[in-house]
């Protein structure tokens, strides 16, 4: 391969046909509430960790639905549970985060 002195950046496009949803599907089984998230962002707005670490339950759920690895973001959660208090769809987000952490643990 000829070195032209530059490289191509990886496409940021998500191919929904090829997305690996196995983790999300396992989460759905233990936390069916994850399905009814409407992405309002209440959880992230109230999150104590968000302004320092970028933690967002909304992003965790959405990115899992797009097949992304959210392990790193999860480690920022302090499990205070404020997000569960404000979710208008009544999703037990704190429990959801714990379940997701367990899935990541068991998948090691």
């Amino acid at each position: 391969m000829i070195d032209f002195g530059f490289s191509l950046s990886k496409s940021s496009s998500i191919k929904l046909d090829e997305v690996d949803l196995s983790l999300y599907r396992r989460l759905e089984e233990v936390e069916p509430g994850v399905r009814i998230c409407m992405g309002c962002g209440s959880c992230s707005a109230t999150c104590n960790a968000s302004k320092w670490s970028g933690m967002s339950v909304r992003k965790v759920i959405l990115d899992l639905q797009r097949g992304r690895d959210m392990k790193e973001m999860l480690s920022c959660c302090m499990l205070c549970g404020k997000c569960s208090m404000v979710c208008p769809r009544g999703i037990n987000t704190r429990h959801l985060i714990l379940s997701l952490c367990r899935l990541y643990e068991s998948g090691k």
């Binding site: 496009s13 998500i14 009814i36 769809r89």
Partner: protein, 339 residues
């Protein structure tokens, strides 16, 4: 001369309900319908939200209610002239009438999906509209719908909220229709993945939000916030959609076996010329202009000319029926000199 005749232009649900009420008020509605059947768009639909009542059931009930009215099918209004005590009307079939008032219930037409060329309606085999899908649910054959689709995508706001396409209004009912049809498709094809691409989900009506939650919870319908920018066809004949998932900020690509375009509502083409005959006006949104958009939605700026239903803007069936009843009362009050 019969001085109780009211010309009702359009035999859709608005015209039928208004005529029923006019009959009850002792007036004589003359329904002029340009197509060969009564019931308008609703007669071509399968089930109605929020209770999934068969549309045919509703139409039959409404048609039953206009027994006693004069009905002309396959007929257009050729011209109307204002007289001192009403309107002289000539129908396309040569019938002349003298009516005391005119009620315009000409409804809407669907945005022609082919005009959004980037979505490939009429070009690719697997692209249909909301009304095509309703007709198919109702038993009409449609070769574009595959036997066992694995992926079905819905695109909201086709020809609605689209300034460039000439219709910046929200058509109101398409969000709910998409959610309803997504659920119906999932019921028919439980193994299929259903995707809805929306800009906003405007689920304003009674129990609409329940449909949304059910679609997510029970049926696992995927919702992506982002307008589909273009559609192409792959070598296998599937359609490939491109959109931005605006909540993750990433472009997304999806192949689907069927694409359903949620065509919006526009004012009927001939409504403007009909309105011009009685010097009623068209509003800046392309629909007919009410005398007042809060207190006198059923009245035009001209005495004796009334409106009901989607000719003044996109409406649901129950909204249209409520307006039709209100219009009948407005006509009655006008005839009684009460206004």
């Amino acid at each position: 001369m019969d001085n109780r005749k009211i010309l009702v232009i359009g035999g859709g649900v608005a015209g039928l309900e208004a005529s029923k009420q006019l009959l009850r008020l002792g007036l004589h509605p003359v329904i002029v319908e340009r197509s060969e059947r009564l019931g308008g768009h609703v007669a071509g639909w399968y089930k109605l939200f929020p209770d999934m009542r068969p549309a045919s059931d509703v139409v039959n009930q409404l048609v039953e209610g206009v027994k006693g009215a004069t009905v002309y099918l396959n007929t257009r209004v050729a011209y109307m002239n204002r007289l001192k005590d009403g309107f002289s009307v000539m129908l396309g079939n040569g019938t002349g009438l003298h009516c005391r008032a005119v009620l315009i219930t000409t409804g809407f037409r669907l945005f022609e999906a082919a005009r959004k060329e980037e979505y490939g309606y009429g070009v690719y085999d697997r692209v249909i509209t909301n009304s095509d899908l309703e007709a198919w649910f109702g038993g009409e054959a449609d070769g574009r719908i595959p036997d066992n689709p694995r992926t079905v995508a819905f695109v909201h706001c086709v020809g609605s909220r689209d300034l460039k396409a000439g219709n910046q209004q929200c058509s109101k009912v398409c969000c709910m229709t998409a959610v309803k049809q997504a659920i119906e498709m999932k019921e028919k094809f439980p193994d299929a993945e259903i995707w809805c691409f929306y800009m906003d989900l405007r689920l304003f009506g009674k129990k609409y939000e329940d449909f949304y939650i059910n679609a997510q919870q029970q049926y696992g319908v995927h919702f992506v916030r982002g307008r589909v920018s273009e559609v192409s066809e792959d070598i296998a004949g599937r359609v490939v959609l491109k959109a931005e998932d605006t909540l993750t900020g990433h472009p997304v690509k999806l192949s689907a076996d069927l694409l359903v375009l949620m065509s919006g509502m526009l004012c009927n083409r001939d409504t403007e010329s009909l309105a011009a005959m009685v010097r009623a006006e068209v509003d800046s949104d392309g629909f007919l202009r009410s005398r007042d958009n809060i207190c006198n939605v059923n009245e035009s700026n001209r005495p004796g000319v009334f409106f009901a239903g989607a000719c003044t803007g996109a409406k649901t069936v129950p909204e249209t029926l409520a307006e039709a009843r209100a219009a009948a009362l407005a006509v009655y009050n006008y005839m009684s000199g009460n206004d």
